[in-house]
Symmetry: C2
Subunit: 362 residues, 2 copies
Amino acid sequence: MNIDGLIQQSGAWRTPDSEQKIVISSRIRLARNLRDYAFPGWGGAEECDRIWRDLSPRLCDDVPSLKPALCIGMDELDELDRQILTERHLISREQAEKGKGSGLILKKDETVSIMVNEEDHLRLQMLVPGLELKDVWKRIDALDSEIEQIVPYAFSPRLGYLTSCPTNVGTGMRASVMLHLPGLVLMNEINPIIKGMGKIGLAVRGLWGEGTESSGNMFQISNQMTLGEKEIDLVENIEQIAQEIIEHEKNARTRLMESRERFLRDHVGRAVGILSNAHLLSSNEALDLLSGLRLGVDLGIVKDVGRAVIDDLMVVAQPAHLQKFEGKVLKPKERDWYRAERIRKGLTKRRTTRTRGKKDHE
Amino acid sequence: MNIDGLIQQSGAWRTPDSEQKIVISSRIRLARNLRDYAFPGWGGAEECDRIWRDLSPRLCDDVPSLKPALCIGMDELDELDRQILTERHLISREQAEKGKGSGLILKKDETVSIMVNEEDHLRLQMLVPGLELKDVWKRIDALDSEIEQIVPYAFSPRLGYLTSCPTNVGTGMRASVMLHLPGLVLMNEINPIIKGMGKIGLAVRGLWGEGTESSGNMFQISNQMTLGEKEIDLVENIEQIAQEIIEHEKNARTRLMESRERFLRDHVGRAVGILSNAHLLSSNEALDLLSGLRLGVDLGIVKDVGRAVIDDLMVVAQPAHLQKFEGKVLKPKERDWYRAERIRKGLTKRRTTRTRGKKDHE
């Protein structure tokens, strides 16, 4: 399986010249298991392999929501390709470690994907730009029904969907929104908000999911609880909380513009200057500077760069994407060199060809 | 006395589009005292005032090397103007503190100046771009003779010229060269060289003279001893040592290009990026970045900025110059804002209007 085509297209989580400012993307994943098989952790390699071989062609061919689909066995990919899929939020770090019997069914536009034999038999994922959780829920619910017509799920009338890890039992759903919150970070107001999230049962994570720090001022808000509430209620709750955080962020940005304008313009200007002229950029520095640049674009301080360009750079500046583009294995120090080059070129190219320049605040 | 005209012209220590790379300027000052008067520290305010009133018109009118001359009493200047003169290396910080009875005789092109009633009755200074100490010695020696025809100096056949501070007795001469040594700093090789200078009787100081740190990788090398050696020998010694340091610096730059090219390009690129885009720049950060930019120009990495532009910015980015240009008193934080603006504009303007672009190494 060759996934080289993927890196030529933008990720599912951004549309060309996206209107999105504070919300980057909405994502829902459902954990599902097959009724007649042991969970992947118990079933052993052979059973996993049988499931993958039986199920993957049927998912690819018979599930309308997935078409046109790619069917990618983990054992067909080298380490770099697996890392590419991780960087594109299509598989988890855990699945990237797996081999034969584990795989990914992916709709070509990357909006819909199914991890097969990761922690559960099936992990359905839908990822779209903007704050669209309710719509995503409708669509992934439909996908879920399409799949259930092909294979019976492990379901308990009392508990709901059964999962490998008890924290997912019930709805099996994790809904999340990715928010870009540089205003709250610069105003030193992010920590109380993160603490508040914990108190109301929401988790706050970094750009790359569980256990990662928040690089580039990106924060992923998701539900902790999967049991005892309807999916639509969980989803509406997260959307509502996200709206509140967005208001806080807008407010912080307004206050930055009003009372700390020089500091803000300096922050944005330095981001532009370093991204456009540095020759060595670590992944974290790049993300933080791209965040500063994005803030500048959002506030109309920077007018000649599109948000979509920045979102793309956040992905292509990741280690595996860099190596894939260069066609060779790169040591971390070498990656810093190629990352800076790719970002410089990305910003220059789009600056001269871009025709639209939105200035209005969200 | 109005010195507003001065800030419209470049300082004496740089020529337009200077060819100079590592050596910025050569400077000699001679400490002289009048035979028939007490030293300024002893004579008291009245005697100083009498000397200034008697002597300054005669120096302005009768000394050919000073014409056309400005005759500036310290008591005619506000604090800002005195600081301007300090930043232009025309008076010392000590003289800037003085009032009536102390003054400056200045040749309009700023190459020749005489501080009257600073620590000594007369401090003759000549400052030119490049490594020209021997030539400067010839010219200041001639100036010295011209003045001696007007007023008899305090001179001892045994000790030489007498001065307020015993460290200046003898020749009364301090000869110095200002060197820009970013290569040695970046290669971490500057400290042994500074230590070595001390051992052979030379002092190493910063951009603004005694007691200042070396901002912008500028190092001023001067003689410590004034007694027991002929002026020409002292001068030749400093020129020879300066040549050796220049060779070390060239060597360090070559090694940077060869073995740390990526680091070097990043260093220069970041300097360009931040100077062209930041909105808050402290004096020290500005000098360090201008040093990085100058290194980039010297090595042909940056092609669209002239060295003379950078040298000018090093002066106009100083606190008093900034305030003079803006026509108002500025707090340090405000200065950081105006400094960044002036540098951004200075670099943009010259980038588009500059016609020459030298690429050759020194």
